[in-house]
Amino acid sequence: MMVPVRCFTCGKVIGGIYPTYLKRVQMGEEPKAVLNDLGLKRYCCRRMIVAHADLVDEVIPLG
């Protein structure tokens, strides 16, 4: 579904980072470097971005 707004574990706001992360990784940057650059220090926040599957498009026709 949509990216969570905050990290489940620590509560840091990570929703706004996802679109930027996606764009930069698709441009060919190293995911690790992008996560570091975006200030995700803890692995709880990193997994929120890395492990996310964007599935809203599957649900839109059912709305």
């Binding site: 579904m1 949509m2 990216v3 707004v5 905050r6 990290c7 620590c10 509560g11 840091k12 706001v13 929703g15 706004g16 996802y18 679109p19 930027t20 220090k41 803890r42 809203v56 498009d57 649900v59 839109i60 026709p61 059912l62 709305g63």
Partner: protein, 279 residues
């Protein structure tokens, strides 16, 4: 008590505080996490039925997510808060009706297809009320879908819900002391390589401390040293304190408020104790 600020920027605070005890450091930490009030979205009024745009096109007020989930996602968006301005809704002069000193109102009006972002929240009031993180995705609307809602933010603390939590990653640790016995040290670099935080460095064939404050007291270097030339210990009167804020308050404002609340709570406690003595 001595304070050394390492960083106190918009969303990150890091400092060294010495001459206190672990329980005092913990009181500051807990106060920062659960007692600092901020504004967060609590009520969302959705327009139901069809929505028309300026050109007369008709949209349905439906979206791929349930309204409850959209409200929850809106609630987690950090709302900029002036810590001196707002009061709790139930303690306000308006008796919980909602007025400018206890409520911030936003309007959300977006038509599909496309993403609704936190930046689409239009404040009814000054531009200083605009959400700072403008790129948080809320929902994705399909063609013919639209959202029209009035969104109300109010003051609260994280004791009620995490959406009112100002800080994240709030932590402190004992200030590290790394002792290297240069007479025993054989300079085989085993400890330098064992350290996960790159605290140690090679200095003319001997080991030296490079970045002491990065040390997390893991003692990997002690284990790696066969001759026992290196010892690591923590100082329980000196603390490395670090926290992040979600942007609704600056790190300085959050810390200020936490200390103010801590002081006020002890003052109330002292008053009730002295009232007990006279009774």
């Amino acid at each position: 008590m001595d304070l050394k600020i390492i960083d106190m920027s918009d969303r990150h605070g890091k400092f060294v505080i010495s001459g206190i005890r672990p329980d005092m450091a913990n009181a500051i930490r807990r106060c920062l996490m659960t007692e600092v009030p901020k504004m967060a979205i609590e009520n969302v009024e959705f327009h139901l039925g069809s929505i028309r745009d300026e050109e007369g096109n008709e949209y349905e007020s439906v979206s791929p997510l349930f309204n409850e989930i959209i409200s929850h996602r809106l609630g987690l968006v950090p709302v900029p808060t002036d810590p001196t301005l707002y009061t709790y809704k139930d303690e306000c002069v308006c008796d919980g009706e909602g007025c400018p000193s206890c409520t911030i109102i936003y309007s959300l009006n977006k038509r599909g297809p496309g993403d609704v972002y936190s930046g689409d929240l239009e404040p009814l009031g000054g531009p200083e009320l605009r959400v700072k993180d403008e790129l948080i995705p809320i929902v994705r609307l399909g063609p013919g879908q639209a959202i029209l809602a009035y969104v109300y933010a109010e003051l609260g603390t994280a004791k009620r819900h995490v959406k009112w939590q100002v800080t994240s990653g709030t932590n402190y640790r004992y200030y590290p002391t790394v002792n290297i016995d240069l007479d025993k040290c054989e300079g085989d670099r085993a400890c330098i390589e064992a350290c996960p935080r790159d605290v140690l460095k090679d200095l003319d064939g001997k080991v030296a401390v490079d970045d002491l404050e990065a040390c997390i007291l893991c003692r990997s270097c002690e284990e790696a040293c066969d001759v026992g030339a290196i010892t690591v210990s923590g100082d329980d009167t000196k603390f490395l304190f670090e926290f992040e804020t979600d942007g609704s308050l600056t790190a300085h404002q959050a810390l200020d408020k936490a200390l103010e609340i801590l002081e006020q709570e002890y003052e109330e406690f002292r008053e009730s104790v002295s009232a007990m003595e006279t009774a």
